[in-house]
Symmetry: C2
Subunit: 192 residues, 2 copies
């Protein structure tokens, strides 16, 4: 009986062909308009080689290359906290491959955490259409040991230590609820 | 006697044909390497129209347009504080023209301050080669009244309420010293 794998939220509000990035951008717009948080996707860095400045019309970039980003995709501020995160999807059903991450993204998140920023990854398992806010502790653990260990994080472990995000109508991805739980967890750890 | 206009810092460490942006980027690199702060210049947003994917070589953007940025130039984290700022130069000797700012930059800084971010502008008067960290209070005051008032901020007022930044050898623009003073001022105001 296949239908039981589809959660109600999937049926009612779920991903309708939008990319995870589009859904997060929409959610950020929702949060911005309601003065809940100011979070933006960073533009893709490019190396501009040639630009045309035609008279009476806008400048046209005629030649440019994509550069490797030195940071993560998203950052901003939410009730005094600096947030910094990546959004990643996988079609893998049982694990999240580490090849989805780049070394500079990991380094950047580690540097931000040293300054007391709140870092995480929003992970989407495409086939189950499940979303998790994965803490950096799990990611760094697998990342730092991948030379000797496995090259992916088991979904089971992600489920165990992450905060599940349920799709909603407005915003589509209410990830700040999960951020609240993450902040409570981090601040609880610091007070122990 | 012209030489008296040149401060010692100008002679020893001053701007050597680098743009303000380059100098701030270099300073951010210095802060990053020493784990003092994680601040990055945001890439310029572009609208990509046409991309070529040649075999065995990197993708080439063949046509693209510049988009209006929805935020400021710089943001990041410094000892738990979210920083967000613009860097602006003027050749005007007596005032800073408001035309250097765009409405979306002002709106963005106001939104960030509602979330308790630390916002400011690094202003450079090119002919005197003087740098100031200008608080948003002064900027917003002139900005919000420009329809009925003057279209520029007098340099004298900037000098009075800003934190002066002196060039140094490493980093070239040690603006985090001024940020420390700004944070003290903001937190002092909140505790009154
Ligand atoms: Mg991404
Ligand atoms: Mg600028």
């Amino acid at each position: 009986f296949k239908a039981k794998h589809k959660s109600p939220s999937r049926i009612v509000y779920g991903n309708r062909g939008m990319t995870l990035e589009q859904e997060i951008n929409d959610s950020n717009q929702y949060y911005l308009e309601r003065e809940i948080a100011v979070i933006h996707k960073k533009p893709i860095p490019i190396q501009i080689v040639d630009v045309d400045y035609p008279k009476r019309s806008a400048a046209v970039i005629k030649k440019a290359y994509f550069k490797t980003p030195s940071t993560t995709d998203y950052n901003g501020i939410y009730r005094g906290y600096y947030l910094d995160f990546e959004a990643k999807e996988t079609k893998n059903k049982t694990a999240f491959p580490l090849s989805n991450f780049h070394d500079h993204q990991i380094k950047h998140m580690k540097a931000c955490e040293k300054q007391h920023g709140i870092c995480f990854t929003i992970v989407r398992f495409v086939s189950q259409d499940e979303l998790y806010l994965m803490p950096t502790s799990l990611l760094f653990n697998y990342w730092d040991n991948q030379a000797h260990g496995r090259k992916s994080i088991p979904k089971k472990e992600i489920e165990d230590v992450s905060f599940k995000i349920e799709y909603s109508l407005q915003p589509r991805i209410p990830y700040l609820k999960a951020v609240d739980l993450l902040i409570n967890q981090i601040e609880g750890d610091n007070n122990e």
